[in-house]
């Protein structure tokens, strides 16, 4: 197997195959457990998930085929390759590989956490979550090293099929069993906690929702995983076709929310901090162990499949764009070995955060996107005919954005903390907005400065068409 074969399947995947790979993102552990969990604790705020996913598909129609075409014409197999090629800078490629990997770690943590929750709940507490996460991590890492992206695509289809049945069954059975229908269920929620059916005036408000949805929608296809799936497509036309049908697929997330809303009145004793357990707790309360077993198995697949894709694309990025730059003489076989070592390393780092951290899955998801969206300005501008951004500008802009996100996340700062006197709706805007603005300002300023002060000739846009 060559690197190209292992990571992007020799660029030969048809429309249907790609559909399932992209749609895989709709049902990950994040939506399965995190989605129902956030419905339970935050109510309508959780609508941000299908909202950003369907808008990401809509947006993809415009820019995804362009990326695919450029990468195909230039034989590129990863996102860092794309940046390195567009800006003629290997340093930028290394930076993007690192940012991509860092952004994926919270996402991998979500999957490991999910594995832990599912196994410990479905074993009725016999296996501890920590032990389950460790076993899960070992299984995923081994699986990816052996099979590459082909394995993921096939399991993705089995997984989607299985999870579809489970989720539709749960989403209909539970509301009808406990309330006699969907509407009576919502009315029951309205009686107890009406505030959960709309967005609140402060906190997870309209402006939080809108800004988060926009950032995540932009970030969706910039995540190295989705980027890699794009590249494995056979044609640009196929990608456009997928963009049309995928928003409909997102509707299926509603069934997950039904489960979460039902949990609000059926298992009110569950603590808010334990929200991610809502779906499984409700299943255990409602069904016989063997059905809980099936639900658990489907849940495991939703963690394993996306996780394998994430591990592979972050490892491939680091190998191609960091290791290979440092050791240019490495053979293809040697690189494949190195990327497998990266898989082990990344798994261990993610496992560390899984065991030590306690954030809700939704918060981890937003963190991932805040980081990856910092690549967006340089990416979108590079698709324009006359890109005025220089490699120095792109580099410093991305570094600035990522550093600001990391500082704000680590210190738990939001816009309200930085600017306490602005109106509430401004305070609620997603914090990565600040990072993005600084990113763009630095990018433009440095680009201008480097054009003036650096006499080196800037790379021109290559129009490959």
């Amino acid at each position: 197997m060559s690197m190209e074969e292992w990571t992007v399947g020799g660029r030969g995947f048809g429309t249907l195959f790609i559909f399932f790979l992209i749609a895989g993102e709709v049902y990950t552990t994040f939506t399965f457990l995190g989605g129902s969990g956030w419905t339970f604790t935050r109510g309508a705020a959780v609508y941000y998930v299908p909202a950003y996913i369907f808008l990401a598909y809509v947006l993809s129609y415009w820019f995804v085929p362009k990326i695919w075409k450029y990468c195909k014409d230039n034989n590129l197999i990863s996102q860092p390759d794309f940046f390195a090629s567009k800006y003629k800078s290997t340093a930028l490629g290394i930076l993007v590989a690192i940012v991509g990997c860092v952004a994926l770690i919270p996402y991998i943590v979500i999957q490991f956490k999910g594995l832990g929750i599912i196994v410990s709940q479905a074993s009725y507490g016999t296996i501890t979550p920590v032990m389950a996460s460790c076993i899960g991590a070992a299984v995923v890492a081994t699986y990816v090293m052996v099979s590459g992206i082909h394995g993921s695509a096939w399991t993705a289809i089995i997984k989607d099929f299985m999870i579809l049945i489970v989720v539709i069954f749960l989403g209909l059975y539970i509301p009808f069993h406990y309330f006699g229908g969907i509407k009576p269920m919502f009315e029951a929620v309205e009686l107890v906690k009406p505030e959960l059916l709309t967005l609140p005036d402060a906190g997870f408000s309209n402006s939080w929702f809108t800004s988060t949805v926009i950032f995540n929608a932009i970030g969706f296809y910039i995540l190295p995983t989705s980027f890699m799936v794009i590249l494995s497509a056979k044609s640009a036309k196929g990608l456009r076709k997928n963009a049309i049908t995928l928003p409909l697929y997102t509707i299926l997330l509603l069934f997950i929310f039904f489960v979460g809303f039902a949990a609000i009145t059926v298992i009110p004793e569950l603590e808010a901090a334990q929200g991610d357990l809502a779906l499984l707790m409700l299943a255990i309360k409602t069904f016989d162990p063997w059905i809980v077993g099936i639900i658990g198995a489907a849940g495991l697949l939703t963690a394993l499949v996306p996780c394998s894709v994430m591990l592979m694309s972050s490892a491939a990025g680091l190998t191609q764009n960091m290791y290979k730059v440092i050791v240019p003489t490495a053979s293809d076989k040697h690189l494949l070995t190195v990327s497998k070592l990266f898989i082990v390393l990344i798994s261990l780092i993610a496992l560390y955060f899984t065991i030590t951290g306690g954030e809700a899955m939704a918060i981890l998801n937003i963190m991932s996107y805040s980081l990856i969206v910092q690549l967006a300005p340089a990416l979108f501008l590079s698709l324009q005919k006359n890109n005025m951004i220089t490699k120095q500008g792109a580099f410093t802009g991305i570094v600035t954005g990522v550093v600001v996100v990391l500082i704000m996340t680590l210190k738990g700062l939001g816009i309200g903390d930085l600017l306490p006197h602005v109106p509430q709706w401004v305070q609620d805007i997603n914090g990565s907005f600040v990072a993005l603005i600084m990113n763009i300002l630095v990018m433009f300023f440095v680009s201008l400065a480097s054009k003036v002060f650096v006499s080196v000739k800037q790379p021109e846009y290559e129009d490959v068409r």
């Binding site: 967005l199 456009r240 509707i251």
Partner: protein, 66 residues
Amino acid sequence: MKYIKLLIAVPFIGFLGLLPWANRIEPYILGMPFLLFWLVLWMVISPLLLTIVYKFDPDNKEGETE
């Protein structure tokens, strides 16, 4: 039909722009509180819009092989 791709912006403007107005429980439609229905509505409208874009998009007539 060079500008047909501008239709892509419609779901963003429509769904998110009218969100403050749609952020309500009543009326229930198809058993869903209004805000949830609003979300579903745009998930259905978007593929329709994209189908129109696809039909008129000159990029699809370049004879790319499927």
